[in-house]
């Protein structure tokens, strides 16, 4: 894998005046893959991307593209191209001039530029729009032109800085699929940063979850979702119910936690197993919660509890029921399949919830 990696970062660090934006980040992106960096705003992902593009100079660490260090290479000499957050299409040029800009800088003959611009526009599905102005394009067309403007230069790595952020929801859903298809079409390495986990989950081969300047976990979408490395990843990727409390029993990797409200839960600790008396957090996915109108046998179902329906958030296939434990007052989000017996579930109804301890994740609480 090392021999084919397009982009390698080693201990990359960036310090600003009073804080460390990127803290010893190391990763490799293999050729032709779609790599996402997912994190909340302010986690340092933009700084990281801008270091790769050459607009920020790392404090320490190394950055290699196709095995060559890029530290002393200016942004206009790096074999990477960037799709900017607001696309940065040049309003003073038409589409053809925009896409041909990079080729003109390289001194490519005009006839060849014309031909290559025409070809790349065809590949992004917008043939023959060379003479249009930027302002005449729709949001989705602008996206594709911005990608074409980079791809015409055949970069080793394409960087994308939350380019879907400015689009409305429908178009964003559509562009997710389209971006993935374009990546497959060009077979170029994409490095994509976003704070929207669904964008990252849908499109990426590999995702790095970034928090406070560090990578918490790198893995496939499935790994992040089902095997989060820590509490932050578990909370950030996908929806999850979160409980915090004191560890009262440990049985192998199964940890029993008692919450403030008196609820008792069991969860699986895959990373570090907390010891008795420590504070710990447990995460349960809404779809892991099993609902029943009849009580579960408490001996075989340690996580079973009686709940009252607080409200039902109808959202088609993604409908959710908010349940409240009458004893502890804690709320619980459970996926509500719009089929069968729960179809008419309404506010105030009593219901029983349960989940398998193996599907809940337990982590030592932060600061312990």
């Amino acid at each position: 894998m090392t021999s084919t990696a397009d982009l390698v970062c080693r201990d990359l660090t960036k310090d600003f005046k009073d804080f460390r934006a990127v803290d010893h980040v190391s990763f490799e992106v293999p050729q032709g893959s779609f790599f996402s960096i997912l994190g909340p705003s302010g986690c340092g992902k933009t700084t990281l991307l801008r270091m790769i593009a050459g607009f920020q100079f790392p404090t320490s660490g190394d950055l290699l593209i196709k095995g060559k260090s890029m530290i002393d290479v200016g942004p206009n000499k790096r074999p990477v191209s960037m799709v900017f957050q607001h696309l940065a299409l040049f309003p003073m040029m038409d589409i053809g001039k925009n896409i041909g800009f990079g080729l003109r800088q390289r001194g490519v003959p005009a006839a060849e530029i014309k031909q290559r611009v025409g070809r790349v526009l065809e590949r992004v599905g917008l043939p023959g729009i060379e003479n249009r102005q930027v302002s005449q394009l729709s949001g989705g067309q602008k996206q594709r032109v911005a990608i074409a403007r980079c791809m015409v230069l055949e970069p080793d790595v394409l960087l994308l800085d939350e380019p879907l952020g400015a689009l409305d929801l429908k178009l964003r859903e559509h562009m997710k699929i389209e971006l993935k298809a374009l990546q497959a079409e060009f077979n170029t390495t994409f490095v994509y940063i976003t704070h929207d986990q669904s964008e990252a989950l849908v499109m990426s081969d590999n995702i790095a979850v970034m928090n406070k300047g560090q990578f918490d976990q790198i893995g496939t979408a499935k790994e992040l979702y089902y095997e989060p490395a820590n509490a932050f990843v578990a909370g950030f990727v996908g929806d999850a119910n979160r409980f915090e409390g004191k560890v009262t029993a440990v049985n192998g990797q199964i940890v029993t936690i008692e919450t403030e409200g008196g609820g008792v839960q069991q969860a699986h600790a895959s990373a570090k197993v907390p010891s008795i008396g420590q504070r710990a957090q447990a995460f349960v996915r809404p779809e892991a919660i099993e609902l029943s109108k009849t009580p579960f046998a408490s001996a075989t179902h340690p996580n079973a509890s009686a709940q009252i329906v607080d409200s039902v958030l109808f959202n088609g296939a993604n409908s959710v029921a908010i349940l409240r434990d009458p004893k502890s007052g804690e709320t619980l989000q459970a996926a509500l399949p719009q089929t069968g017996e729960f179809l008419g579930l309404g506010k105030g109804e009593a219901i029983h919830a349960n989940w398998n301890a193996g599907q809940a994740r337990c982590f030592v609480a932060e600061g312990q």
């Binding site: 206009n76 990079g102 003109r104 403007r149 230069l153």
Partner: protein, 287 residues
């Protein structure tokens, strides 16, 4: 009732505008043109004709002064653009927050002060007994006092000084609105500093460049103080000729013709500038 009252309000608002424009702008210029077309043939006797304009074209001193004024104004415009652009770019793109405000303010303050004071400053600096001459003698570059005043270079220094703000302000405004990411995108796509300047920065700044150039050209063309004080008696500036005809010679007819020629030239340049850059007066001047 409501419409009647708002009609009344409308006319109340319209009347000061019309009064101002008609009595102080339109009628005076029609009057000026009429006077320029009348030739004095005797005491309080006038004929209509182009005689005054003929005088202008037949007297080399007049049209040469006119051409010289135009040429030096163009030179001033070019110089202010070349000198002012890097400053405007520095303020707009390379500074932030407090520094930016301070630098911008430092540009503005000299221009809140009367042009007379500024020109006076240059006189103190440039004259034979002035600061520059003394300084150069002190450093040993000159062995005796030299008069730096009363030549064309002194006029240029003063004109550039007097008008550079009117170049910098519109440039800073337009450059400020240029998104940094466009410049970054230019670099990212392999552009060099020069090609980005040519293909991205300058096209974006064009409205500011045009309005700056128009204003600077106009101000230089119509300037009186700087050429007279820094260029001395023989500075040969066209506004000087107008002043002489009006105040010294009391030949208002010829003076009006001169005035109209100057107005014609400045309007032509404004018009051409707007046409070439495909902009309208309202966008350029109305900020």
């Amino acid at each position: 009732m409501v419409t009647d009252r708002s009609k009344l309000g409308f006319y109340l608002l319209l009347s000061p505008l019309l009064l101002w424009l008609v009595t102080l702008i339109i009628l005076p210029h029609i009057g000026l043109f009429a006077v320029s077309m009348s030739e004095k043939v005797g005491v309080r006797e006038y004929e209509t004709g182009f005689g005054n304009y003929a005088v202008f074209f037949n007297e080399p001193l007049y049209w040469r002064t006119f051409a010289r004024t135009a040429f030096m104004s163009i030179l001033t415009t070019v110089l202010t653009l070349l000198l002012g652009f890097p400053i405007a770019y520095y303020i707009a793109k390379l500074t932030r927050g407090r520094t930016k405000t301070t630098l911008f303010l430092m540009c503005l303050i000299p221009f809140w002060v009367s042009e007379l004071v500024r020109t006076f400053g240059w006189m103190i600096l440039l004259r034979e007994t002035g600061v520059l001459s003394n300084f150069l003698q002190y450093t040993g570059i000159l062995s005796e006092p030299v008069e730096f005043l009363y030549n064309d270079a002194a006029i240029m220094v003063g004109l550039v000084y007097t008008s550079i703000l009117f170049m910098i302000v519109p440039l800073v405004t337009t450059l400020d609105s240029l998104d940094d990411s466009l410049i970054e995108a230019g670099y990212d796509l392999g552009g060099s500093g020069f090609s980005i300047l040519r293909e991205i920065v300058i096209p974006h700044a064009m409205p500011g460049i045009v309005s700056g150039c128009i204003v600077v050209f106009m101000l230089s063309l119509g300037n009186y103080l700087t050429p007279i004080l820094l260029g001395g008696k023989d500075s040969l500036w066209f506004t000087g000729l107008i002043y002489t005809q009006f105040i010294t010679r009391f030949n208002w007819e010829l003076g009006s013709a001169f005035g109209f020629l100057l107005l014609g030239l400045s309007s032509a340049v404004v018009f051409l500038g707007l046409k070439l850059s495909r902009q309208s007066l309202s966008d350029t001047m109305g900020r």
